[in-house]
């Protein structure tokens, strides 16, 4: 059974779905005008941010978002996640960290190659000079 309710202020059509929840559809005439986003806005409501995860993006959903539950409700691995920033090459060890060390090493080598390429292109006139002959051996 469909029940169409058109409210004057919001101009939306309501169509009930099987489970009993209501889906809002914007009427064909209604157009969402893009507004200039305020980038300087910082939400100062610390209570709300620490008690709820304010990520609700549905028009009709729990405001302001799912509540934060006590530790017991979350899985074990969540509190064992690695939150450290990526370690530089000097702190890594090939024996202990294995592939991560080699990955960092490769990144470092690529950075060095990139710097050398820049220098090479900057000093193009010196390319055939004897001092630049072995530049790839650095």
């Amino acid at each position: 059974m469909f029940r169409l309710v058109v409210t004057k202020s919001h101009n939306i059509c309501r169509t009930p779905v099987a489970q009993g929840s209501v889906r809002h559809f914007a009427a064909p005439g209604a157009k969402v005008v893009p507004q200039k986003e305020d980038k300087s806005f910082v939400d100062t409501d610390a209570e709300k941010l620490s008690k709820h995860v304010c990520v609700n993006f549905y028009v009709q959903g729990e405001e302001p978002g799912p509540a934060i539950k006590p530790d017991s409700e979350y899985p074990e691995w969540l509190f064992k996640l690695d939150l450290k920033p990526p370690q530089p090459l000097e702190d890594l060890d090939p024996e202990k960290d294995g592939w991560q060390y080699w990955r960092e090493l490769r990144k470092r080598q690529m950075q060095q190659m990139r710097r050398l390429e820049q220098v090479r292109l900057k000093r193009l006139h010196l390319q055939d000079s004897p001092s630049m002959k072995n530049w790839r051996r650095f």
């Binding site: 889906r23 559809f25 978002g65 939150l83």
Partner: protein
């Protein structure tokens, strides 16, 4: 120069597309329009732009307008398309959870604070995507943490303390205002120089 103009203008061969073209964009919920950049992107692939916008806005009617949604549009050779609307962008979700609108401006700056529980809830939302169907939640959480690092949002294991958070947010709003003022100044100076 006459020769330069002659060499630059070359006849572009019309390439006939045979395979289905995939279009990956972010479209704000309820705000699909025929204006660039979306209009030309769809037009080039031969999709009826007006129809697409109507359908997209209808599909996202239940989502708050203005939320950026990554969409994958698979255009088939007969000009019909498969529309796949994913959950909102992770960066938007992270910024909402931290209460900020702008990320960090330089390396090492802390733009916002979040706890692992926030990350878990965001991962739950993201896990409903078709692309992340078999992926364990732990892996999704790890990816979100890496992204939060790039935005400048600090993730902490303990729950957020409201007093400390309030202090941090007050400081942060001051810093953001200063940064934006500096940028506006630079822009004004540039306009004065060239104009």
């Amino acid at each position: 120069m006459a020769t330069k103009a002659a060499t630059r203008v070359r006849k572009k061969e019309v390439v006939k597309v045979v395979h289905g073209a995939l279009l990956r964009t972010h479209i704000k919920a309820g705000m699909a329009s025929a204006a660039p950049p979306l209009g030309p992107q769809l037009g080039q692939r031969g999709v009826n732009v007006a129809n697409f916008c109507k359908e997209f806005n209808k599909e996202t009617g239940h989502i708050k307008p203005g939320v950026p949604l990554p969409t994958r549009i698979n255009v088939k050779p007969d000009r019909s398309y498969d529309l796949e609307i994913c959950s909102p962008t992770t960066s938007w979700l992270l910024k909402q959870a931290a209460g900020i609108r702008r990320g960090r401006q330089f390396y090492g700056e802390v733009a916002g604070k979040i706890s692992v529980k926030h990350v878990y809830e965001i991962a739950l939302i993201k896990s409903k995507d078709r692309a992340l169907v078999g992926v364990p939640l732990e892996e999704i959480c790890r990816k979100i943490i890496i992204q939060s690092r790039s935005i400048g949002i600090e993730v902490q294991k303990e729950d957020l303390d409201p007093e400390l958070l309030k202090q941090f947010l007050a400081e942060r709003s001051g810093t953001v205002a200063k940064q934006l003022a500096e940028l506006a100044e630079k822009k004004a100076a540039k306009m004065l120089r060239t104009g």
